[in-house]
Symmetry: C2
Subunit: 239 residues, 2 copies
């Protein structure tokens, strides 16, 4: 094999594909994202990506060592897009809420990339920029360094984790989702109050709440707990 992948920047012999396409890292990442957005995350495979590009699947291994590497590149691009679409106002809590929702929405379409980027360090530009930005928001708000890092970590992981989780359900075809809701109604709405009093009492709320993502709620809880801690710290009553 002798290391198939070339340093990425110093790539010179740009020979076109049999079908006339000139490959590049950006083109591959772009096409991968398009493919995912159009046909769902499960539709992405090396072979399908090759076909979409008009290239042999094995060509991609000249640009990425494995599929993971490709997903990390997608993740970094995703981070960049999210960050560029975000306009901070100076109100840390509102800004983080907005950013969290944007991260969640962005990652929702690319759950495999989201999972990877949470436990792997891409070390790429956009990732570094995001870390710098978010920790900056927290430090500027008045969080001490250690606390800022812990909240940053929980904030980012929660956005990515919920995105990965939620993507599974939004990826379902519409009829399947409605079938799910029907099962909810059929099983939970019918449990008798004497054996399952709490479910029976809240059945109405369960019906309406369960089909929605709980991320916004979780995000608000996280931010209001952080705000409470900040208030404590400012009062000098730090734990």
């Amino acid at each position: 094999m002798t290391d198939r992948v070339v340093p990425s920047t110093a790539r010179q012999r740009r020979r076109p594909t049999k079908q006339g396409v000139v490959l590049s890292e950006e083109l591959i990442v772009e096409t991968a994202m398009r493919l995912i957005e159009e046909h769902g995350a499960e539709a992405l495979s090396v072979r399908r990506l090759g076909r979409a590009l008009g290239a042999d699947p094995s060509s991609l291994y000249r640009y990425f060592r494995h599929t993971d590497d490709l997903m990390l590149a997608v993740a970094d691009e995703l981070i960049g897009r999210t960050l560029r679409s975000w306009r901070p106002t100076g109100d840390w809590r509102a800004d983080l809420r907005d950013l969290g929702l944007r991260m969640h929405a962005g990652a929702l379409a690319h759950p495999r990339a989201a999972v990877l980027s949470s436990h792997r360090v891409t070390g790429r530009d956009h990732e570094i920029q995001a870390v710098e930005t978010i920790i900056g928001v927290l430090r500027d708000a008045g969080f001490p360094d250690a606390e800022a890092v812990r909240i940053y970590h929980a904030f980012v992981d929660q956005a990515l984790a919920f995105a990965a989780l939620d993507s599974a359900s939004t990826a379902l075809p519409r009829p399947a989702r409605e079938a799910e809701a029907a099962v909810w109604r059929a099983t939970y709405a019918r449990l008798p109050a004497d054996t399952h009093p709490h479910i029976a009492a809240t059945a109405r709320h369960l019906m309406t709440d369960m089909p929605r993502s709980s991320y916004p709620m979780a995000l608000d809880l996280l931010l209001s707990a952080a705000a409470a801690r900040l208030a404590e710290i400012r009062d000098g009553t730090q734990t």
Copy 2:
């Protein structure tokens, strides 16, 4: 095909496998869990499971329609085990904290099951019991029905989402994880303070905090925000 799967309860012709094993839903689920625990979540495949059971892979389709169905059965068994290992004390916040950590730990080894069970209704016994129990804890603590459901939803999804996320990193072989940490040190610890002041200022904390799961922190934030809301409600100052 004429629906290969039999109603599960009324199964009568218990013909042994060529290798002498008598299959059953429980045996299959047990074996699947053992396989996952011993060789990691990625080691589970229909073919490997068949081999471990001493049966042809296709036999399993007499018990489960697809792999998803099997994972849902695993998920339900997991819920049951977690709930059985949990001893509530009556202090809602401590109890939920304990339960959250147990759910997270349990699901960590079975991320595929965790993801599935978050957006699919198993409708099985253990799941129903868990819903009843958790909502009961919240209502008994004094949360009004709508709020109890919303917090329940966020709580459960958070545990499952972090489990699915964290499992990816704990599944890495030890040397790979150490390589990750090394990358962290190599890239983030070296960023100059003039271009990345916030990272530079908190580098020490990032080093120690990032390799750990942020779930306990996120859980504590969620619970303390919930406690604050409860206090508000009790004071009659409800939002």
